[in-house]
Symmetry: none
Subunit: 158 residues, 2 copies
DNA sequence: TGTTTTTGTGGGTAGTTGTGGGTTAAAATG
DNA sequence: CATTTTAACCCACAACTACCCACAAAAACA
């Protein structure tokens, strides 16, 4: 699985097109077929999964997620709000008006790589604020995470 | 099995015809023979199964569902209220007056894809309310699902 | 530093998609 | 059997989208 690092700023044009960082495009596996599935993420950001990563995730959901009303509701929600988008020749994907509204995206988008193999799309202004706020608590969360890792035991430490 | 993603808005005309999203039509397998079986779904929505998916479902029901009075009742009900509809040249299916009444459909329909291989038909207004209500609990259920996946073990973690 | 290649952004156009209506064939009704 | 109603099929058109090309800015290279 490919990991994505870093954050990059782009603009959305009138047609809802957003460029995907060349670095990320190069990291895509052939099985991704130049396709991303865009879905709602936490903190009102959008998540975009390479197709292969998404399929694996779906398979896990189908196999392991117990059938409860809550989980069914969740699946229905995700199905209805996600959209697959193929990269155009220039390496862009398309965001729907609904998705842009959800993430408060108007003009500028910050694309953030995630170690777990997907990328996040934020309204640039919102991301700046978010990362600024997170920065303040950095030392606290840093040791909090290290502490959890230590408790997990050996294999968790890289 | 093909998964369907996203939601799309259409209108029903005087003859009860509803367009099926081109995206979904393209995702149909040849075995579906351009036919959908429309049946009652939960939350007063309608479900439409591609013929091949429906047949598989029926086979599973026949094979695995125990014969109890309740199940018989259910099967009888489903048999009687379902209807198959073939796509016309423009890619539309027909809804009966009864079906439209069940789902409170009058003019505008939202067609919602489902990962499990079928699609849902909602009255647009009702869907908007439903999805709005679900949205409120989004972050909560987001982490609830991730939590379950993590606990399920290894393969669930991308 | 000058030159070439890659990357990000914008816009035009042809083909596809969604919507409506008309016409003919089949079924239901009296 | 005649008449009315219903449903299937076909065609037409407006709106939209995917695809294409163009160009400027940035990066890589010599």
């Amino acid at each position: 699985m490919a990991s994505f690092y870093g954050s990059f700023d782009y603009s959305v044009d009138a047609k809802g097109r957003v460029n995907i960082p060349a670095k990320f495009r190069k990291a895509l596996s052939p099985e991704a077929e130049d396709t991303f599935i865009v879905t709602y993420g936490s903190e009102n950001c959008l998540e975009a999964y390479p197709k292969d990563v998404w399929n694996k995730r779906i398979a896990d959901l189908a196999d392991h997620l117990p059938r409860t009303p809550e989980n069914d509701k969740w699946l229905r929600f995700i199905s209805g709000t996600s959209a697959d988008s193929v990269l155009d020749v220039q390496g862009r994907i398309i965001l729907s008006a609904t998705q842009m509204k959800y993430a408060n995206i108007t003009k500028n988008v910050t694309i953030v790589g995630n170690i777990k193999g997907y990328i996040e799309l934020w309204d640039s202004e919102r991301y700046k604020e978010y990362i600024g706020a997170t920065m303040k608590d950095f030392d606290t969360s840093f040791y909090a995470v290290e502490d959890q890792l230590a408790k997990m035991g050996q294999s968790a430490q890289v």
